[in-house]
């Protein structure tokens, strides 16, 4: 599915994205470029506008002004399914998985593989592809055929990320993917996220956890009350500088 991505083609390019809710300016003139295989963290205090930005890029909201480019081409999304068909996948905070179904069905829900001649479900192929993907990303689960309700929280988030990765040809968006997880599970999920670099999709990850940002991200961009304060390479910024940018207080 990969188009001829020259080195200067960005997976995602945002130019002057602005969003008003009535009188509230939720996002003011936001710019960002993400290269294929790059992980960018989006940080900011509560109410800074992070989730709003994610919803704009995933097609849930329309921007009031500004331009979105995917792989260099100007794009606007009618709705989330439109964004999905254009290669943008979201890992939801609340997972969006079906408990009573097996892992492979969750992986292929809404995009089930079918076989000839009657167009029946190709369960074997779906399970095999799921197993291969899960092995590649090292998401450790008992089996691709296990019901989702048999998995732990970390395993589930691993599946959600694997699913997003499998279908994202351009971009994976994650809104606090480890917020609900314990320490060990967070570490596992971070390993999975970092493995996404090799698959070539751009990743935009919202996180409240600064240690996590330093562990997984290549760059970080800071929002404060709707305004983009800075975008830095992760090795150009210290923990304290980042906190200062988020809060607006200089220590």
């Amino acid at each position: 599915m990969s188009t001829s991505t020259s080195t200067d083609t960005f997976a995602l390019q945002l130019d002057g994205i602005t969003k008003h809710f009535g009188g509230i300016v939720a996002i003011k003139h936001f710019d960002l470029q993400i290269k294929p295989g790059e992980i960018v963290a989006l940080v900011g205090d509560n109410g800074a506008g992070k989730s709003t930005l994610v919803k704009i890029i995933s097609g849930m909201y329309q921007p009031t002004a500004g331009e979105i480019r995917l792989n260099g081409a100007p794009t606007n999304f009618r709705d989330p399914s439109d964004a999905r068909t254009k290669g943008v996948e979201v890992v939801y905070q609340d997972l969006a998985l079906v408990d009573l179904q097996p892992v492979y069905m969750n992986m292929f829900l809404g995009r089930e593989l079918r076989k000839k001649p009657f167009g029946t479900l190709d369960r074997r192929e779906m399970a095999a592809q799921t197993q291969a993907l899960v092995d590649e990303l090292d998401v450790r689960i008992p089996s691709a055929k296990a019901p989702l309700s048999d998995l732990s929280g970390g395993q589930r988030q691993g599946i959600a990320i694997a699913r997003a990765t499998n279908w994202a040809s351009s971009l994976v968006l994650m809104d606090e993917p480890t917020a609900a997880l314990g320490v060990a599970e967070t570490a596992r999920v971070e390993q999975i996220i970092m493995r996404l670099r090799e698959r070539g999709a751009g990743v935009l990850i919202v996180s409240h956890n600064m240690e996590q940002v330093f562990r997984v991200a290549d760059r970080v961009t800071v929002l404060r009350r709707g305004t983009q304060v800075a975008t830095k390479r992760i090795d150009e910024v210290t923990h304290n500088e980042l906190i200062a940018m988020i809060t607006g207080l200089t220590s």
Partner: protein, 347 residues
């Protein structure tokens, strides 16, 4: 630490063969059906005679045909309280069109099919449009159809029942198709039994083998997740109501050609028999879980209880008590299974 422990570190648990068999949705109903069969066979020698079994199957099929559509709907997370009177609406439509316009009964059969599918589509459309619960929406359509059945019948015929269709052209063929007696190894079996079996096979095929089946499970079990994954949840639910409409039409045509006349007040309360069959057969009221085969076993239990009390020469007064008790037992059992299935969850 052995390598086994290393590999198993994040595994919550595995599943044995026994456990996998035991969480099949229809297993409880199957056990209940076997027990019931043995009890009635022991109490009444008549019960196991071939002719009696054919009668039981016939009784089961009249509930079972509807339970196919209703069980799929319940797996899709919705109920239909109008399913009982919708059968009568469908039968009345055919009979009244034949009475009013005269001519071939098959025009009535055709329009009745369109009407039945339209009622289903309307239920589904109202549900997805208003975002009300299906309990409210179909409770409303239950009352409206009940009133329409009585009102329109009295308006057109002046009475509470339709005139006999026996003299109408096309009646003989209709009877052959919808109400025939089929001899099998010297036993006469009603054709509805075969329709029932065919519907169960088709429904099971849809559920297990097609993507639509997968969408039904997902739309019922986790509608938000299904929507987020691109499953057409609205279309799936509307389709399920149309499916109930089709089953209602098929049963209605049987009743029409078997009894020739339709009582406009019939059908009220039958919706609960269909729901009982589905729930006893393992469908969860919350959606996302169940099977058409389970609902068929639920209908079979109904058929055995219905005729069994007669053959055992018990008072039929107890039938409803028994059905209620079955429902309670099945629901408790299902909730237990659901808890078991959810045991591995962390959140």
């Amino acid at each position: 630490m052995s390598t086994g422990d290393l590999i198993r570190d994040e595994r919550v648990r595995g599943r044995g063969l026994f456990e996998r068999v035991f969480v099949r949705p229809e297993i409880g109903a199957l056990a209940a059906a076997l027990v019931l069969f043995v009890v009635f066979a022991a109490v009444s020698p008549v019960f196991t005679q071939p002719a009696s079994l054919a009668t039981i199957l016939y009784g089961a099929s009249t509930v079972g045909i509807m339970a196919v559509g209703v069980s799929l709907l319940m797996i899709g997370g919705e109920v239909d309280l109008s399913a009982g009177v919708a059968v009568t609406t469908s039968a009345l439509t055919a009979a009244l069109i034949a009475y009013w316009f005269g001519g071939n009964i098959w025009w009535g059969v055709l329009f009745s099919l369109i009407a039945a599918l339209a009622v289903g589509a309307l239920n589904g459309w109202l549900l997805t449009r208003t975002r009300l619960s299906s309990f409210i929406v179909t409770l409303a359509s239950f009352f409206m159809l009940t009133g329409l059945n009585l009102g329109v019948t009295r308006m057109l015929t002046g009475g509470v029942a339709t005139p006999s269709i026996e003299a109408a052209p096309g009646y003989e063929l209709g009877r052959e198709i919808f109400a025939a007696d089929v001899p099998v190894f010297g036993i006469t079996i009603k054709i509805t039994v075969f329709y029932w079996i065919a519907l169960v096979i088709i429904a099971t095929w849809i559920l297990r083998r097609t993507r639509v089946g997968n969408w039904i499970f997902a739309s019922g079990g986790a509608p938000a997740a299904a929507r987020a994954s691109g499953v057409p949840v609205r279309a799936t639910k509307i389709g399920l109501y149309i499916g109930v409409g089709f089953c209602a039409w098929l049963l209605a045509m049987h009743q029409l050609f078997a009894f020739k006349t339709v009582q406009s007040g019939e059908g009220i309360g039958n919706e609960f028999l269909y729901i009982i069959a589905a729930v006893v057969g393992g469908c969860l009221m919350t959606g996302g879980y169940g099977s058409a085969i389970g609902a068929a076993i639920g209908a079979l239990i109904y058929g055995m209880a219905l005729k069994g009390v007669v053959y055992a020469e018990w008072s039929p007064d107890w039938l409803k008590f028994f059905l209620g008790a079955m429902l309670l037992a099945a629901t408790v059992f299902n909730v237990y299974l659901q808890r078991r299935a959810a045991r591995g969850r962390i959140r």
